[in-house]
Symmetry: C2
Subunit: 199 residues, 2 copies
DNA sequence: CCTACCGATCGGTAGG
DNA sequence: CCTACCGATCGGTAGG
């Protein structure tokens, strides 16, 4: 009974993710969305309760993906540098595998109602905390430089993995793993050569 | 004669930058904007030709600031690592000093008409090229590691300086220069300590 | 800069 | 899932 409506709902969410990411939430009308699915505007409401439900669900699915990717890594026993590399792999993979909903997630969450908004803010904080704790442990282990500021370091890592939503193109020459390894190599080892440092 | 209308236009642009960055372009109505300035909706059209003119001007001002900050650095004679640090200083300063219009710039440019859209795309490409050339020169100078991919390196630097629009808070404990130095230190020198490298 | 208004479009609903 | 419709609001204009 719910098995026939579920795929239709999934189709609606896919279309909504794409249109919201391309045009923005407010610039996408319910008639745009219905047209993309070959139906009339009013027909959507047989499957969903309203426009905001779509935004909430897209954002929730995206944040759940980040959650699952990173928090299963929390208690894994690995040196901090390897763990950071693995976290970046997973983080970029979520972005790359969900370009549309990730874009919606990063751009449209401020249009959520207060409760849903607070949930997203909480998620963001917990991701920040995950990276800060990883850095802090790496410093006390001696893997990372002792003079790092965990907060700034976490911002730098998050910049790299999150900003990928603006430029990464799935199906292009780079896999998400290529990107993660390249960024991790540069972040861990630094850009400067051994010989030529001047500052 | 134009001297009395110019400040009013500037006020409208400031309000529009703030409202567009907080609520988004399409979610901000002209009546919201007028109300923020203590006037009626229709009165705005004595000063501007339409809503999109505001978006175009905000985005143009922002991109001009990035242009001026970076392209005056192009022909400065400096080792690549110092030049990269200086570019990051300037780039982050533009973001930090224009949080509202930078946010509009990053989020709302896709709502521009085709011509204005193409201009922004062109600007983005030229900023990318600026950083890629800087990296390439640094590699051939011997300042940067020979195994760097200039394209990926430029993406990493741009991630760091652009993503600041999401978390930086002017008036907080960190100056734009603090952020730039912290990021530049980490990027140039790497996160790993000398002793504890495992990978 | 205001009042009053325009046509268009919005999200959503009723009834089938 | 469609047709037909609702009140509300949109960007913008006319005339003053």
């Amino acid at each position: 009974m719910t098995e026939t409506t579920k795929p239709r709902r999934a189709q609606i969410l896919d279309s909504a993710s794409r249109l919201f990411s391309e045009r923005g939430y407010h610039a996408t009308s319910m008639r745009d969305l219905a047209g993309d699915l070959g139906m009339q505007g009013g027909s959507l409401y047989a499957h969903i309760s309203g426009k905001e439900e779509l935004l909430i669900e897209i954002v929730n699915v995206a944040s759940r993906q980040f959650d699952e990717a990173l928090f299963t890594l929390r208690d894994v026993q690995l040196p901090a540098d390897e763990k950071l590399r693995e976290a970046m792999h997973r983080h970029i993979r979520v972005v790359a595998d969900n370009m549309d909903s990730a874009t919606v997630f990063f751009h449209e969450w401020k249009h959520l109602s207060p409760e849903a908004y607070a949930r997203v803010t909480g998620w963001r904080d917990s991701i920040d905390a995950f990276y800060r704790e990883l850095i802090t442990r790496g410093i006390s282990e001696g893997t990372f430089r002792a003079d790092l500021d965990p907060r700034m370091t976490a911002y730098l890592v998050l910049s790299a993995v999150n900003w990928a939503y603006t430029w990464y193109r799935p199906g292009g020459p780079l896999t998400p793993g290529d990107v993660a390894d390249s960024f991790a190599d540069m972040l861990l080892g630094g850009l400067r050569s051994e010989i030529g440092s001047t500052a």
